[in-house]
């Protein structure tokens, strides 16, 4: 990167410093023992030199360096301050000034003069000039053979920071990150020095690492990473292979991999005699015999693995980049992992209950593995959304020409990954939204020119991650939504009562009302009876939400917020009598209490006043005819279902709960109100409620009972 810096800042400062320097030198002549004055002279020189070099005044910096060197010696009392020194320094000061003037367009200073001054100053030095300390950070040491760089090698880096390393503000993890940037790495962590938890001092570093790095950068690059900490850690870097010599080996003559024992002996972890004592299932026997600890064997195994991989990679130069797997196999895998997660939760609970230390250790280990397995499995099902995006290019092209509009589609975030099932179900809603944008959003070329826009409209389709969700946006630069038109249309269609007062946000929501279409005339693109209400339903079916933003004359953005995966649900676990249920957390807004008094106040009608708004609620207990007495104070989980607030009455709210969703199987395929089930840590089954379906179910019931339409 280039930072353009105005050099005038330096020259101004330098002139000031030179003036100061002159004063200080003259004062110094009067009192040559004054340390403060010597310091001032030295600092002025030092600053001119440092800044000069940074602002490209190399000649000034080089010249000043000589004066500074001499004054440094005067500062620590190696040489005395003499009249000769002051004369020379004053001359040097004039020379520097001349150099600066020359840079500003003045006359070139006399080089002989400079040489004379420098020679004079050097004459003041005791014996030889002080050695220039080379700096490792900026000059590469030539300890390693030059052939190292450029060819790929694997190194073993043993890095053991001293416990006090944090006290210099060092973060060892950043150093590991730097190593990672050099090439392929495998890191083994050693925790053998980690004390019991009561004795841990969080200000000390107990961890050490072995990093196996495959890189073409050579050993110097690795050494340089540790430059600041070479006195604060034990560091041992060793090249494990000499690839250069092996290149000529034919693939079928690949040398056998080194036995584990050999590696441990080489690494100095065990003695050869000990190795000979134990043979066969080596790793465990060594650990059991207490000769090495587990981490060391682990590291040796990694070393073996790295060597193996390198050889195998040589064996088959062409590596398959991907494997095609039928998706039902994946679904099975996800199912199994789901079961495993459930069993693991039970294991955690049981081991906590039994309070058995060994069992707890095992269960923690299993927990870690299961977590990794789950994340890995989920990531296998993730696909980039780009393939879906590509389909829309054609759609936009065909539709816009059919409607006589000119529209260009741009996309961003095609690499964003989503669960395959989500992507599959996203296609139809997206088609619909984009159709809407083309039909209602973007104006005809003439209309656009009239509005002072380019005749070519733009639709921008983008995807991005946002926490555990993905945001998919469809933005057009069309005419935007006209709230007044929306409201009058809605009144005309009987969607809302006349003289309704709606906020802008509420008006935008009207486009999702059933049977609502703002198209002036029904084209064969939109207005086929499939409205945005269907889109919203399918997005909410995916446990997502949909949001509209629009500015009149500028355009509209429709944002879909979707979960990354359908296999796991963030839920709110609730309890009624002895039954557990899970409500999708995405829909939950808040929980409020429902007392007997509240029920009496509303004369048994299922509504509650939440901070001034009336919210209808459904009593899950009654709905599923659960026996038993409700508690004095019940809880209402207020949720947003299809833009309406609805409460669900439960006995008790247990808390947030991340669960793996299990399908209910064929037996329950007609059960409307459940989207699945999950198994809690103690083996109990909790049903996951489909809030949308529940609300609709109850509405239909009420309709059937009353025979009247509800608003």
């Amino acid at each position: 990167m280039a930072v353009e810096i105005d050099t005038s800042a330096f020259t101004e400062e330098a002139y000031e410093l030179l003036a100061e320097l002159e004063d200080s030198l003259l004062e110094l002549e009067e009192s040559p023992k004054d340390q403060d004055l010597i310091g001032r002279v030295f600092r002025a020189m030092h600053t001119i030199k440092g800044s000069g070099a940074m602002f490209g005044f190399d000649a000034v910096a080089e010249f000043t360096h000589n004066v500074e060197t001499v004054f440094d010696l005067a500062r620590n009392g190696t040489i005395p301050i003499t009249k000769g020194l002051i004369d020379l320094t004053l001359a040097a000061r004039d020379q520097i000034r001349a150099m600066l003037d020359a840079a500003a367009g003045g006359e070139e200073p006399d080089q002989n003069n400079a040489s004379r001054i420098i020679a004079g100053l050097k004459g003041l030095l005791p014996g030889a000039a002080p050695a220039q300390a080379a700096d490792a950070a900026q000059t590469t040491k030539d300890s390693a053979p030059a052939s190292e760089e450029g060819s790929v090698h694997t190194y073993r880096i043993r890095f053991r920071p001293k416990p006090e390393i944090f006290e210099n503000g060092t973060n060892p993890l950043l150093l590991l990150d730097e190593i990672r940037q050099l090439g392929e790495t495998k890191v083994v962590t050693f925790l053998e020095h980690l004390p019991e938890i009561e004795e841990i001092n969080p200000e000390k570093c107990y961890t050490s690492w072995e990093i196996f790095l495959t890189t073409d950068q050579g050993e110097n690059a690795i050494q340089d990473i540790f430059i600041f900490v070479d006195d604060q850690c034990e560091l041992n870097i060793r090249m494990l292979d000499r690839d250069g010599e092996e290149e000529s080996v034919a693939p079928d003559e690949v040398p056998p991999e080194k036995p584990l024992g050999e590696i441990l002996v080489e690494r100095g972890d065990i003695k050869r005699d000990d190795l000979n004592k134990v043979l066969q299932p080596l790793g465990e026997r060594l650990v059991d015999a207490g000769l090495v600890n587990k981490a060391k064997v682990q590291a040796a195994l990694v070393e073996q693995e790295v060597g193996k991989q390198k050889r195998e990679a040589k064996k088959q130069q062409v590596v398959a980049q991907s494997v095609r797997v039928p998706s039902d196999k994946l679904d099975q895998l996800v199912d199994l992992v789901g079961e495993l997660v459930t069993v693991q939760a039970r294991l955690t609970q049981t081991s906590a209950k039994l309070n058995d230390h060994d069992l707890q250790l095992i269960s923690e280990e299993v927990e870690r593995l299961t977590g990794e397995l789950r994340d890995n499995t989920m990531s296998i099902r993730m696909l980039a959304i780009g393939t879906t995006f590509d389909k829309f290019k054609r759609l936009v092209r065909d539709l816009s020409s059919e409607l006589g509009k000119q529209i260009e589609l741009t996309t961003a975030g095609a690499e964003t990954e989503l669960d395959k099932t989500v992507i599959d179900q996203l296609n139809d809603p997206l088609v619909h939204i984009i159709r809407n944008s083309i039909d209602h959003g973007v104006e005809s070329p003439d209309g656009r020119v009239e509005a002072g826009k380019s005749p070519v409209g733009r639709i921008h389709l983008s995807a991005e991650h946002s926490g555990a969700n993905v945001l998919i946006k469809v933005t057009d630069d069309g005419k935007g939504l006209d709230t007044e038109k929306l409201i009058s249309k809605a009144i005309e269609k009987g969607v809302i009562p006349p003289d309704s007062e709606l906020s802008e946000k509420e008006a935008f929501q009207l486009i999702f009302a059933a049977g609502f279409s703002t198209a002036e005339k029904v084209t064969n693109v939109s207005g086929r009876g499939v409205g945005m209400d269907v889109v919203r339903r399918s997005i909410e079916g995916l446990r997502g939400s949909i949001d509209v933003q629009s500015e009149l004359g500028k355009g509209t953005t429709i944002t879909l917020k979707l979960p990354l995966t359908l296999a796991i649900i963030e839920g709110l676990l609730v309890k009624i009598s002895n039954e557990y249920f899970v409500l999708p957390l995405a829909a939950v807004e808040e929980c409020v209490e429902l007392t007997r008094a509240d029920v009496t106040a509303t004369h048994g009608r299922h509504v509650i006043n939440v901070r001034g708004t009336i919210v209808p609620y459904i009593r899950i207990r009654d709905h599923f005819e659960i026996t038993g007495q409700p508690p004095e104070v019940e809880q209402i989980v207020i949720s947003e279902v299809e833009e309406k607030r609805v409460g669900f009455v439960v006995d008790d709210v247990i808390g947030q709960h991340q669960t793996v969703i299990k399908g209910l199987g064929k037996t329950f395929k007609n059960s409307e109100e459940f989207s699945g089930a999950t198994i809690l840590g103690d083996g109990t089954v909790a049903l996951i409620l489909d809030l949308q379906k529940m609300v609709r179910f109850v509405e239909d019931l009420e309709l059937a009972e009353s025979g009247t339409t509800t608003p």
């Binding site: 990167m1 280039a2 930072v3 810096i5 800042a9 330096f10 400062e13 310091g39 001032r40 030295f42 600092r43 030092h46 600053t47 030199k49 440092g50 800044s51 000069g52 070099a53 940074m54 602002f55 910096a61 360096h65 500074e68 060197t69 440094d72 002080p130 220039q132 300390a133 080379a134 700096d135 950070a137 900026q138 944090f166 006290e167 210099n168 503000g169 060092t170 973060n171 993890l173 950043l174 150093l175 990150d177 730097e178 200000e203 990473i225 430059i227 600041f228 006195d231």
Partner: protein
């Protein structure tokens, strides 16, 4: 949340260059004109990292590093010192005082940023 770095130097031009370089990378920068000034400002508003020159009036860089390390808020804060080639002994003195690392003057903006990445992430 952008990280804040303090640059301490009695040379205004060096401060200016460090400030421009860091701001270009999106860091917030506060400046100190010498050790004393820096210490007063840092006591009031801690920062995520300090870059300090060694030779300064009123309080030199080594003393500043020692003073900062004695404050609880700066116990583990990365502190980088600016040294020159002729100050090899200063490097170990600075390390002993508690410096995290050093940058040798003269340096280029890219070198400065590389060191910041190393100690601040």
């Amino acid at each position: 949340m952008a990280k804040t770095i303090m640059t301490v130097d009695d040379s205004s031009s060096v401060r200016q260059m460090v400030t421009l370089t860091l701001k270009g990378e999106g860091y917030n920068v506060v400046e100190g004109v010498d050790g004393k000034d820096a210490l007063n400002k840092l006591k009031a508003n801690p920062v995520d990292m300090v870059i300090t020159d060694l030779n300064m009036p009123n309080m030199d860089g080594i003393t500043l590093i020692k003073e900062l390390r004695a404050l609880p808020a700066f116990k583990f804060t990365p502190i980088v010192m600016l040294t020159t080639e002729s100050q090899a002994n200063k490097k170990s003195e600075g390390k002993d005082a508690g410096a995290t690392g050093w940058i040798v003057k003269p340096f280029k903006p890219a070198q400065l940023l590389q060191v910041i990445k190393k100690v601040l992430g």
